[in-house]
């Protein structure tokens, strides 16, 4: 029961994350489109609403901020990758759904640290093609197989 609740919560949060990413992408697209329309209109008429004869220190600061954020993100991703390569089992435990882990355990794969391709195929033999793909995709996401 608990595992089912946890699973559905994980699926829900995954769905929310996906939705958030899509919304962010859509918002960025809208912003770009609006800027483009404004620029096209301005190019057509040759009119510029406001110009200031000071160098764009605001833009420089904004770019610096973006660069800093990007560098931080890269560092975080690197750290994650390193952590993943050091402890694949931990990350697998974090992300492989409990039902999948239980199913694999029933098939004789009790540890997810190093799953051999042959053993995995043998374990998944009884499943339909779609189920096999789903399980492998989950393991792939978890970094258990590559």
């Amino acid at each position: 029961m608990e595992s089912q609740t946890g699973e559905s919560m994980a699926a829900l949060s995954e769905g929310m994350e996906r939705m958030e990413a899509r919304l962010e992408a859509a918002a960025a697209l809208f912003e770009r489109a609006a800027a483009l329309i404004e620029q096209q209109e301005s190019e057509r008429t040759g009119e510029v609403r406001k110009i200031v004869a000071a160098i764009d220190s605001g833009r420089e600061a904004e770019l610096e901020k973006k660069l800093e954020a990007a560098e931080r993100q890269i560092a975080e991703l690197r750290a994650q990758i390193e952590a993943k390569s050091e402890t694949p089992a931990q990350s697998a435990r974090r992300t492989v759904p409990a039902a999948t882990a239980q199913f694999l355990a029933k098939q004789g794969i009790s540890t997810l640290e190093a799953v051999e391709a042959g053993a995995l195929d043998a374990a998944l033999n009884g499943l339909s093609l779609e189920q096999r793909i789903a399980v492998k995709a989950q393991l792939l996401r978890a970094g258990v197989v590559s």
């Binding site: 620029q39 040759g46 510029v48 406001k50 000071a54 833009r59």
Partner: protein, 219 residues
């Protein structure tokens, strides 16, 4: 050298505590900016002489502002007013007053900074660009909406300047409120050759002034 000038006549008050006269070079005309101005989408700009002259009336009475970091504009920090402008050669000179009592930090900065460290920057609205695909935009029409005092290195035009007058004492005749009211808001426009007109006064103007003053006394 050709010179085109325009000024607002403000009533003069000797040693006004809140007026610190300044002069400066706001921009260069018919010359490309040293760096792209903000809002020009990365293009350097040329402000044509014709456009600058046409825009001179819009410059008079506009405020000068400053940012505490001296690196740009802050339209909400208006610390002075432009009362005169002229285009001499390739330079657009301006003159006016700082509100020195209200903004002592501005006067302090001007007095303490090394000579030539400060410059100026304009703010234009409704600018018309001849060809927006050109590498350097040519501004053929614009309206001045303000100016800023800033570090010269932060200005799009490196050859701008800003200087406070050494003394606050300007002229000198005590004037009545009626005289001030009669003269305030008047504009003068003149064209001369080979002179720096902003600081000088013609004899004719002095005569007019004396005449007005004489007429005002009996009242």
């Amino acid at each position: 050298m050709r010179l085109e000038a325009m000024a607002v006549n403000l009533p003069e008050v000797a040693a006004h505590p809140n007026r610190a006269p300044f002069t400066g070079v706001l921009t260069l005309v018919d010359e490309p900016s040293t760096r792209p101005p903000s809002g020009a989408r990365g293009h350097r700009v040329i402000f044509t002489r014709k456009a600058a002259l046409a825009a001179l009336p819009s410059l008079l009475g506009m405020a000068v502002d400053y940012a505490p970091s001296w690196d740009g504009h802050d339209a909400r920090r208006k610390c002075g007013i432009i009362t005169a402008a002229d285009v001499g050669g390739s330079r657009l000179h301006v003159a006016g007053y700082l509100f020195a009592k209200d903004f002592p930090e501005v006067e302090r900065q001007m007095r303490q900074c090394p000579p030539g460290a400060m410059g100026m920057s304009w703010e234009l609205a409704d600018a018309h660009v001849e060809d927006m695909r050109a590498e350097i935009w040519t501004l053929t029409r614009a309206t001045f909406t303000g100016a800023a005092i800033l570090l010269r290195e932060k200005a799009a035009y490196r050859n701008t300047s800003f200087e406070l007058a050494a003394s606050r004492c300007r002229s000198i005749l005590p004037r009545t409120a009626a005289q001030d009211g009669a003269d305030a808001g008047a504009t003068r426009r003149f064209r001369e050759a080979g002179s720096t007109a902003l600081r000088g006064r013609t004899t004719r103007k002095e005569e007019t002034w004396n005449h007005r003053q004489a007429k005002a006394w009996p009242r």
